[in-house]
Symmetry: C2
Subunit: 213 residues, 2 copies
């Protein structure tokens, strides 16, 4: 299925005292259509166990589990896909290991990245970041809505917009060309992740309908 709608990228730190699974479940109940598990600085064993728990939870909802960067984790838990950045495994190597059915997303942080990705059969481009964000600081500047629109005009690949997106700008990002809106803090750090997800999913759904009307 093509990537579309509300895409949650996890951040355990932002969940505070709430278990990650509880926040993910709230996001799913609120209408998230894709979840990416992102972990840094944990052991492989911890990452695997967490991924295994999420895999089980997500399959109850029929929502794909995407693993950030770590193909060893994705292969072991039989996740639906991986998301790779420009410092992660090259796309071709990731496809070779994951096989033809896996969802593979690729972050684009520069126009050169976008051009190189044009002829790849990636499942989506992660346009990162749209706006500056404290949850990811190793980027090369932000695309803005103009950059997003420029990529939309250039490629037919599904676009997942990420970086500084929330209920106040999700509609604009969809209208600029995003098929999916990825959020981290707008759900993980929300006082009420269920409500936050429901609101976002509603805004994104309406905007997608408006765009295709």
């Amino acid at each position: 299925m093509p990537i579309s709608g509300l895409y949650l990228v996890t951040d355990r730190g932002l969940c505070g005292t709430r278990p990650l699974e509880e926040v993910v479940r709230a996001a799913l109940d609120g209408g998230a259509t894709c979840v990416q598990l992102r972990e840094k600085d944990v052991t492989t064993r911890f990452f695997l166990e967490e991924a295994g728990r999420l895999k089980k939870l997500l399959s109850d909802y029929g929502v794909p589990l995407i693993i950030n960067d770590r193909l060893d984790v994705a292969l072991t838990v039989e996740a639906d896909g991986v998301h790779v950045g420009q410092d992660d495994m090259p796309y071709e190597a990731a496809r070779r290991l994951m096989g033809p059915k896996a969802i593979i997303g690729l972050s684009v942080e520069s126009w050169e990245d976008v051009e190189r990705a044009r002829d790849m059969d990636v499942d989506y481009l992660g346009v990162s970041p749209i706006f500056e964000t404290p949850t990811k600081t190793d980027t090369k500047g932000s695309w803005g809505l103009e950059g997003l629109a420029r990529i939309r005009a250039y490629t037919r690949l599904p676009l997942v917009a990420i970086g500084g997106l929330n209920a106040s700008n999700a509609e604009a990002a969809v209208l600029a060309g995003a098929d999916s809106i990825a959020v981290v803090s707008a759900i993980c750090a929300a006082p009420d992740p269920l409500k936050a997800s429901r609101d976002l999913a509603g805004i994104i759904g309406s905007a997608l309908a408006k765009r295709s009307a």
Copy 2:
């Protein structure tokens, strides 16, 4: 081929200003029979590129390349094997992904680890640490030569001893039961890694001959 002899575990930090490849080449010229690439806190891309370079270098010497923990890296560069610790991927999952021909080593840090490993077809046990060492601090105490001898009496698996080993105690470790002596700083931090490796390989070779005589 069974693991035996001088086993280098890399530590880029300890190599100082010398490129890792230069130190590894010196170790190979000095008689190392196995090299494990261990990296933490680097990007997957960096790890892959470095592993690819070492793979090429080691194949010229006919020496196996073992990747620490990261099966995604090992699979992509077609390394000869992986080394997993108790916080890394479980052995069975690693075997499933790596296939029957891969070398898989498993660290044992407690007697329970040794008992659990008894019926696994791991290629070697990494007995870790023999002595306290500043290059690895997340362990559960040290085995000592007595602990090594106790494991030797318990299992037929090849034993790679690691932790605080150098030219002054390598012979004793072999006589206590190690088939292979793994070193980090004794080569990576040596003023002359070629000489250090040659000395160590000589000591280990003589001790293995003495033991089997």
